[in-house]
Each structure stands twice: as structure tokens, then as C-alpha cells.
């Protein structure tokens, strides 16, 4: 460095000597010329300055994009995985449809069945399951055979060992994503994870001299120019892959000289600043590959999922050729719409790959022979959007809307795709059924009859299905979560629980008690309140079971007043009701406005033996780097003793067996069911809540601006619940409601509520908390016992005893 400085100092000296010997050309030139030259110089300087500033600005733009957040990746939501096991009804769980939705492709039997393909024979399903990538609970790829017997899976064995596997998990199914305004979907890939032929296919057709040019390929530009001149129009582009990337990242698609110049300069800057590997990776993640409905698909990762239902790492040569082929015009050469055109262009790409020595003859021939096998294109269902919206609200405390639409999070949810589909179907069919029955409901198509259905797993609180309205497209208001409506008789179990729950060691009633259903008048600040029954009559004295099973208003209202509204409110709060509960006598009959979700939680608490679950729809959240950001475990709180919860369950079982909800069995549904109907004044709100040992489901029907529906709950909401649960369970509900050790079952006399022993003409089994059993015997037993005592005494007197 010092030496070069010396040398330049010497050169300066020599130049100054030459200048001193003779007058310079500059001084001898005419003045006008000097002025012109100075002007040109100044202009050149200014132009140079302006160009430098422009280049610097472009450089800054390039750096900001490449060194900042390069891609905004929408976060994606996945369902809970489907689980396959011997004994499972594969038809009911729609195994074939599930495999198709997951992008599995049917293939012919072969020794090495690739992952993501299956072979279905009448009695045998072989499926090579893909690996499920998750930082803490990954599942390996597995080649398994399921022996099928009728609609049942008989056994599951791993290949090639033939060893019995028992249980296998399918990977979670994508449910939807949170898009930003651009509505772009992409799955980022790293260059290292892509097969070489994917990169080769793209380079062969898009930029074969990518490795050697500096960002602009002059040879290609010249070739394109000649081709376009000959054609008389623009037929061929001369853009390199770097230029395409620059155009997509920073520029508009307009065809102007200014835009082309900027593109060229930026391409040179990108090439000067970043290595080829980085540029190629960015290109492969950015390039547009077509549409999935309103969503733009970008990058080979997402394209591989869309077109082949598999990760880009598993693309074959032919598939890579097809993807490279459609880059030129993804919608014009769409393999879904134009399969022949797409195949022809794919073959062209394969030919180029062969010509350029990127693949051998055998690979080329095999790839050209490969038929076009595309994944089934399943449009994103709007039916799941209510669930996604709820999830977004639940995640809002930890993740902003921006984070959800840009950070590429993977959100594993509790949604059960099968149940969700059945819920959508049941609700839709149910609403249409009511509309057929009451034609007047068609009056105003802008304000149609609405409804919602949600299902929870009571022992975990997981939300399994949620349909917040009849059509998300026309109304995004979620009636299960955001609406508050009068509940009618659905509220009554809270009154009975308040009365059955021991207070200071003693309950107010037992299931053998009787209630007064005679006319009732209550003075309130708004006047006298006189409740009446749905059937318009009073029933004097009724048993607790009768009052609940037939949903008698007067008996329930009187009970609530005797127990105390504060205790009823306390029970509702503990079970999970958060909405305002007005302290008025009619509270007992369901005049409070509640949301179906909180009603579901309250019933889930009863179903799970008094443990209130936290309703949750997220299992865990994984970031773009593959780190688990959070895991949400089920949470419970003991809010009711298991015995009282069981008594309430048996009451509700009675409602489903003999009472207002007996219609649940109309289709032959068997197994344990507990349920309650709810119909508000003038049939404005129709509710149905029912649970089995493993599922709580709530249905609501009504208008957004309340008006009469024209049918009671048993004809409106109940059939929807029945259809849903029949489809979920196959008509046979398994399991039982577990009876806690603290509950005793004894025979009682239904007329008196007394213990029924021998001699009692009628008896039925009833449940009691320990220490609350009836202490007296039924009259006949007591008489018989007295007679027995007398006879023994007489025998003793006679000396024959």
C-alpha cells in the first residue's frame, strides 16, 4: 500500500512538469468550447451523482428486503390428527376421503410404495404414511397394511416386518390460514432440502446460465431480441432468474424501459451482494405458481402441496418438471384445467434437462412416461372459518394479527375434521327442514333463520366442532360464541343442582322428593309474576323427576325461590356461566341471555363429574423455525361434587328417556344420553343441549333479530342434535356415565318416595348421595312388617313360635 502511494505521487510530479512546459489544450481552446466542455462535465458529474444516488437507493431497497423479513408467511391451522386402530369403522370415519384431503394418492401395488401413496383393495389398504414433522412429538414415516373386514379395520401391520402395529396416527390436516391483505400462501423451503432435480428443472427452463451470469444474461437478451424481431411482437423474455426475482420482489409487471433498467441494475446489485445459493433459494420461495381459489400460491414448497399433496422434498423428476413448466404461465398452463398443455410443456422441460445434461436418458424416459397424477384440489372450506375466528380471538393475547398473517406459525388445534363436517351437514339440513315445515320463514331472504352447533369433549374441554351460522360467506357473526340469547329451560338443571347439592351437609331435595306445581304468584317491582307451564295446566304435586323430565315451569320456579336465587346463580357461575344473570324469579326459567359456548361449558362440567374444563381450541403453537412457542394443556377446576353432578346427569338421562328430549331416540340411537330442550317465549329461541360420556353438543336455532320460529325445540333443534350425534356415533353411543362411590342406588316407591322393600307394589331405582337415603318405608311394607310382628307375637303366645 505505501509503495503504490509513492508511485502515484511520482506520476503527479511528472504530469505537473508537462503542464508547466507548454500552455495546455484547455487554455488554447476557444472560450465557447471551454464553456461547453465545462457544461458537459458538470452535467456528467450531476448525472453521475444522480445515478449513484439512484443505485444507492436501489441498493438500500435490496438490502432491506434480503436482510430483513424476506417473506411474509401466513400462519396455518391444523386439525387434530385422525387415529387408526383395529376395530375402527373406517367407512364412518371416511378414511378414503381423509387420505385424499391429506393429499395421499392412490397407486398400484409395488414393493417400494413411496410415502404419501396408498393401494386400496377390497380387504386391504396399504398406505405409506408420511412423517409428521413436529419439534417435540414427531411421527416417523411408516409403510403399513390395514386388513379390512366389512367396514371395520381388523388389524394394522408394519411393512416389511409384518409386525402388528396397533395404532397409527395420520398427520394433522390443514384447516385454514390467517392471510394478510395480499392473501399469499407459501411454505418456505431451504435449498438443501430440495432434490437436485427440482432445482435443475427450474434452471433448465428459466435460466440455464444462472451459475455463470452476473445477473443479466446478454446472450439470452440478444436471443430474445432476435426472436421477438422475427415474430414482430414480444414472444420471448430475456430475463434471468435474478431479474425475475427482482421484478417480483420490488417492481411492477409493467413493460417500460425505466422498469427494465431498474430491474437490470437491481439484478446486478443482488448478484454483487449475495451468493447464487441465496438468490436461488429466494427465487424458489417467491415464484408464483397459481391460485387456490382467492389465495395466491407462491414457492415450490406450497406448489408441491397444491399440485401433488406432498412436500417439495419428495417431488419426482416428472413432478419437478411440471412445476418448472408452469412457472411461465401458472394459470394458463394450469395442470388442473389444462392437463394436456401442462404435460406437453412438462415434457419440453424434461427434454431441456436431458439436452443440458441435467438428467440421463433413463431418467428422462421414465419421467416422460409418468402420467400426470395430481392431488385432489380441495378448496378451503368457509365452514371452518368460524372456528378459525374463535381461535384467532383466543390467540389474540399472545399473537397480534400481523404475527398470525406473517410469521408462518403452525397452530395445532383441537378441531376434529370429521365432526366438523358432520356438524355443518346436520345444521344445514336441520335449518332447511324447519324452513320446509314453516314456509312463512322464507319471508325475508336477507334475514334468514339462523342456527349454530358446537361440540366439546367434556373431559378435556377441547372444542371439536363449531359452526357459528348457516353460511359464513353471508354472515361472519358467530352465534355460538358471540351471541347471547335467552336459554329457556336449558337453564333449569342449574336450579335442580342448587337444590340437590348438599348445603351445610344436607341437600334441599333428593331425587325422591316431590315439588309443588300448583299456581304461583310472585310480587315483583314490575308487577305480579305468574308462571305457567308449556301445556297450559298445573300438576299439583309432582316428583322431581317428573318436573324435570316434562320441564314444568311452575314447580321449577317455586323450587328456585325456595332454594334461593343466590344459590342458583352461584351454581351457574361455578359451572361456567359468565354472562349477566338478572336476580329475578324468572331467572329459573331461563330468561338470562347466555351464549351457547358457555352453556356447553356448564353442561360439560356436569358431564365430567363436576370438574369445570377450560374450553380450549389450541394444542400447541410452533414457529417458522420449528420451535414450540407454547403448549396449552387442559385445565380443570372442581366446582361441584361428583355425586351431585351424577344426580343431575341421571335427571337429564330421564329427560332423554321419557321427557321432552325423548325424541333423541327416535332414530334408534342407543347408549347413554343426557339432554335438555329449551324453547323461549313465542318460540323465538330453540335450544338443545345433550351429552354422552365423551361429547357435549349444543344446538341453537332462531333469528338474529328475535322473532317466532314457529316450532318448539323438540321439532327444531333436537333433530339437528340427533342427526349429528347419530352420525358421530354410528347410532350406538359407547361407555357409561360413571357413578361415583358416594352415590347409592336404592329402590323407592315412586308414589311416596319411601324405600321400597318386599311388599311394596311399585318400585323404581333411584340415586342418592350417601347419607340422604329415605328413612321411611313405603306404606305397604310398613303394614306388612307390622302384620308380621303381630303374627310372630301371637305365635309366641300360643307357644307355637
Amino acid at each position: 500500500m505505501p509503495r503504490s502511494r509513492k508511485r502515484s505521487a511520482g506520476a503527479r510530479k511528472r504530469r505537473s512538469k508537462r503542464r508547466s512546459r507548454a500552455p495546455s489544450v484547455w487554455l488554447r481552446a476557444p472560450a465557447w468550447m471551454r464553456r461547453l466542455a465545462a457544461g458537459v462535465l458538470a452535467l456528467a458529474f450531476a448525472a453521475g451523482f444522480w445515478c449513484s444516488a439512484q443505485v444507492l437507493a436501489l441498493d438500500r431497497t435490496v438490502r432491506e428486503r434480503f436482510e430483513g423479513v424476506q417473506f411474509r408467511v401466513p400462519s396455518r391451522v391444523y386439525s387434530a390428527p385422525e387415529i387408526l386402530y383395529p376395530g375402527l369403522d373406517w367407512q364412518r370415519m371416511d378414511l378414503r376421503g381423509t387420505l385424499r384431503r391429506l393429499g395421499y394418492r392412490e397407486a398400484r401395488e409395488s414393493r417400494d410404495l413411496p410415502a404419501g401413496q396408498y393401494v386400496w383393495n377390497p380387504r386391504r389398504l396399504r398406505v405409506h404414511l408420511r412423517a409428521f414433522e413436529h419439534p417435540t412429538r414427531p411421527e416417523p414415516s411408516r409403510d403399513v397394511v390395514l386388513r379390512l373386514s366389512g367396514s371395520e379395520i381388523r388389524d394394522i401391520r408394519g411393512l416389511p416386518s409384518g409386525e402388528e402395529v396397533g395404532v397409527v396416527l395420520l398427520e394433522p390436516e390443514p384447516v385454514g390460514a390467517y392471510y394478510g391483505p395480499a392473501r399469499e400462501q407459501r411454505e418456505l423451503v431451504e435449498l438443501e432440502e430440495l432434490p437436485k432435480h427440482v432445482v435443475d428443472a427450474v434452471l433448465a427452463v428459466e435460466d440455464q446460465r444462472f451459475a455463470s451470469h452476473p445477473g443479466i444474461d446478454l446472450q439470452r437478451v440478444a436471443g430474445a431480441l432476435v426472436a421477438n424481431l422475427r415474430a414482430g411482437s414480444i414472444r420471448q423474455g430475456g430475463s434471468t432468474l435474478t431479474q425475475q426475482l427482482v421484478k417480483n420482489f420490488f417492481l411492477t409487471p409493467e413493460r417500460t424501459l425505466n422498469r427494465k433498467l431498474r430491474e437490470a441494475v437491481m439484478a446486478l446489485i443482488v448478484e454483487a451482494r449475495y451468493d447464487k445459493r441465496q438468490i436461488l433459494e429466494s427465487y424458489l420461495n417467491e415464484i408464483y405458481f397459481g391460485q387456490r381459489g382467492p389465495t395466491a400460491i407462491h414457492g415450490v414448497g406450497e406448489a408441491a402441496r397444491l399440485y401433488f399433496g406432498k412436500p417439495a422434498a419428495s417431488l419426482s423428476v416428472a413432478e419437478a418438471g411440471l412445476l418448472a413448466a408452469i412457472i411461465q404461465s401458472p394459470n394458463g398452463i394450469s395442470p388442473f384445467r389444462e392437463p394436456e398443455r401442462a404435460t406437453r410443456r412438462r415434457d419440453l422441460v424434461l427434454d431441456l434437462m436431458l439436452e443440458q445434461g441435467r438428467i440421463g436418458n433413463a431418467e428422462h424416459a421414465a419421467a416422460r412416461d409418468e402420467p400426470l397424477r395430481l392431488a385432489s384440489l380441495s378448496p378451503e372450506s368457509s365452514d371452518d372459518r368460524y372456528f378459525l375466528d374463535l381461535l384467532e380471538r383466543q390467540l389474540a393475547d399472545g399473537y397480534s394479527g400481523e404475527a398470525l398473517s406473517e410469521e408462518g406459525l403452525r397452530i395445532y388445534s383441537s378441531l376434529d375434521r370429521r365432526l366438523q363436517g358432520l356438524a355443518v351437514e346436520a345444521l344445514r339440513a336441520g335449518i332447511e327442514r324447519v324452513e320446509r315445515r314453516v314456509p312463512a320463514l322464507h319471508g325475508d331472504p336477507t334475514r334468514p333463520l339462523q342456527g349454530c352447533l358446537l361440540a366439546l369433549r367434556p373431559r378435556t374441554g377441547e372444542l371439536l366442532a363449531l359452526v357459528g351460522g348457516r353460511d359464513y360467506g353471508s354472515s361472519q357473526f358467530d352465534r355460538c360464541v358471540q351471541a347471547r340469547r335467552q336459554t329457556g329451560s336449558v337453564f333449569k338443571p342449574f336450579v335442580y343442582i342448587a337444590a340437590l347439592e348438599p348445603n351445610s351437609g344436607k341437600p334441599f331435595i333428593t331425587l325422591a322428593s316431590f315439588l309443588d306445581d300448583s299456581p304461583l304468584e310472585v310480587k315483583t317491582p314490575k308487577g305480579t309474576w305468574r308462571p305457567s307451564n308449556y301445556d297450559g295446566t298445573f300438576h299439583d304435586t309432582v316428583s322431581v323427576r317428573e318436573a324435570m323430565e316434562h320441564s314444568y315451569n311452575v314447580a321449577t320456579a317455586r323450587l328456585a325461590l325456595e332454594v334461593g336465587l343466590d344459590r342458583v346463580t352461584s351454581v351457574a357461575r361455578r359451572l361456567g356461566i359468565e354472562s349477566h344473570l338478572p336476580q329475578v324469579p324468572s331467572l329459573a326459567l331461563g330468561t338470562a341471555d347466555l351464549s351457547p359456548l358457555e352453556v356447553a361449558r356448564a353442561y360439560a362440567t356436569i358431564a365430567s363429574g363436576g370438574l369445570r374444563p377450560r374450553v380450549q381450541s389450541v394444542e400447541d403453537v410452533v414457529d417458522g423455525e420449528g420451535r414450540v412457542l407454547e403448549r396449552r394443556n387442559p385445565q380443570f377446576e372442581r366446582v361441584l361434587d361428583a355425586g351431585t353432578a351424577y344426580l343431575a346427569t341421571t335427571l337429564l338421562q330421564g329427560v332423554a328417556a321419557r321427557g321432552t328430549a325423548a325424541g333423541v331416540r327416535a332414530g334408534g340411537l342407543s347408549g347413554p344420553v343426557a339432554a335438555k330442550t329449551g324453547t323461549t317465549d313465542e318460540e323465538r329461541d330453540l335450544w338443545f343441549v345433550g351429552f354422552t360420556p365423551d361429547l357435549v353438543a349444543v344446538v341453537w336455532l332462531g333469528f338474529d333479530e328475535p322473532r317466532p320460529v314457529g316450532v318448539p325445540s323438540s321439532a327444531g333443534a333436537l333433530p339437528i342434535w340427533r342427526r349429528f350425534v347419530e352420525a358421530v356415533s354410528g347410532g350406538e353411543i359407547r361407555g357409561a356415565f360413571p357413578r361415583p362411590a358416594s352415590v347409592r342406588r336404592v329402590a323407592i316407591d315412586p308414589r311416596s318416595g319411601a324405600l321400597a322393600r318386599s311388599g311394596c307394589p311399585q318400585s323404581r331405582n333411584e340415586y342418592f348421595l350417601a347419607g340422604t337415603l329415605p328413612t321411611h318405608e313405603c306404606p305397604e311394607t310398613a303394614r306388612k312388617q307390622q302384620r308380621g310382628l303381630g303374627e310372630r307375637f301371637l305365635r309366641w303366645l300360643r307357644g307355637t313360635g
Binding site: Y85, G87, G166, V167, R638, P738, P740
Partner: protein, 168 residues
């Protein structure tokens, strides 16, 4: 009644008395052990398999995988008491006694409807509850329950802890 019949009757009585006496109030896991994977309907069997896989994962230190296995077991069969029991043990291992108690509540209730199983696994439930209550902040006793479990099943609760392998 001849002497042979009387002798046979006496023998039967002794046998019945002996088996009655063996049934301790907190059942012994060793005598009542059943093969998890073989019990119940298909859903229960599959669920139990996942519980066993979870216990293996817990024993190998793969906590997240274990937890996921237990959750899948509940997904298939929400009424499976073993899944709740395994979850309770798992929660204690990861230091969440409150959640462990909830799972024990579930397990206990579910065992209530399957009385034979209840006897076989009561020592586990009692011991785990003792541990959980001892771990609460502030501790809620638990030593008496742990001692009860230790008396009923010394080979398991002798070290005052229930390994995944022991539960398996």
C-alpha cells in the same frame, strides 16, 4: 352329611375366607394386574396401547411425546381411566400437582364405574393423590395417603414414587 362332604364344605369355607381376607381395602397392584392392551372394546384397547406408548416415552424422558400419546389416548376414549392416571403421573413428573389432581379426580370417577379395575389401581390413585397434595403450594398434607399406598403396595410405593415403568 358324610364326613367327606363336611370336610369339603369346611375346605371351601376356609378358601372363601382366605380370599376375602386377601382383599385389602387398598387393592394390591400385584394381585389385580390386568393386561392393559387386551382390556375393553376396540377403542379402549387402542387407547390403552397409546397409554403404554406414552409410559414408554415418559420412561425414556420424551415428555412431550408421552403427553401427546396420553392426549391421543383420551381422544380415542375419553372415559379411559388409565389415560387419566398416566396423565396424573406425568403432571407430577413435570411439576404440575394441580393438574395432576384434576386428572386423578377424572381417573377416580372413571374407575368408580369399573369396580374390578378400581381395586387393582386404587393404590396408584391414592399414592399419586398423596404425592400431588404434598407437592401443592402450600402443601395439603398427602403423607397419610402416601403411607396408605405404601402399606397396600410396598413394592411400588416403597420409594414414595411411581415410575412410568411401574405404572406400565
Amino acid at each position: 352329611m358324610g364326613w367327606f362332604q363336611r370336610f369339603a364344605l369346611l375346605g371351601l369355607c376356609v378358601l372363601a375366607g382366605w380370599s376375602w381376607g386377601c382383599a385389602s381395602p387398598v387393592g394390591s397392584a400385584a394381585t389385580g394386574r390386568i393386561s392393559l392392551a387386551e382390556a375393553g372394546d376396540p377403542a379402549r384397547r387402542a387407547s390403552n396401547r397409546l397409554v403404554v406408548e406414552g409410559l414408554d416415552a415418559d420412561a425414556a424422558g420424551a415428555r412431550a411425546r408421552a403427553r401427546s400419546r396420553y392426549q391421543r389416548a383420551v381422544q380415542i376414549d375419553a372415559s379411559n381411566p388409565f389415560a387419566q392416571l398416566a396423565l396424573a403421573r406425568h403432571c407430577l413428573e413435570i411439576g404440575d400437582p394441580t393438574l395432576a389432581i384434576s386428572h386423578l379426580d377424572h381417573a377416580e370417577l372413571l374407575f368408580d364405574s369399573e369396580l374390578e379395575l378400581r381395586r387393582s389401581f386404587e393404590a396408584h390413585v391414592v399414592g399419586l393423590r398423596g404425592l400431588a397434595e404434598r407437592e401443592l403450594d402450600p402443601p395439603n398434607g398427602g403423607d397419610a395417603l402416601l403411607e396408605e399406598a405404601r402399606r397396600a403396595s410396598p413394592q411400588i410405593w416403597g420409594d414414595a414414587w411411581l415410575d412410568a415403568q411401574e405404572l406400565r
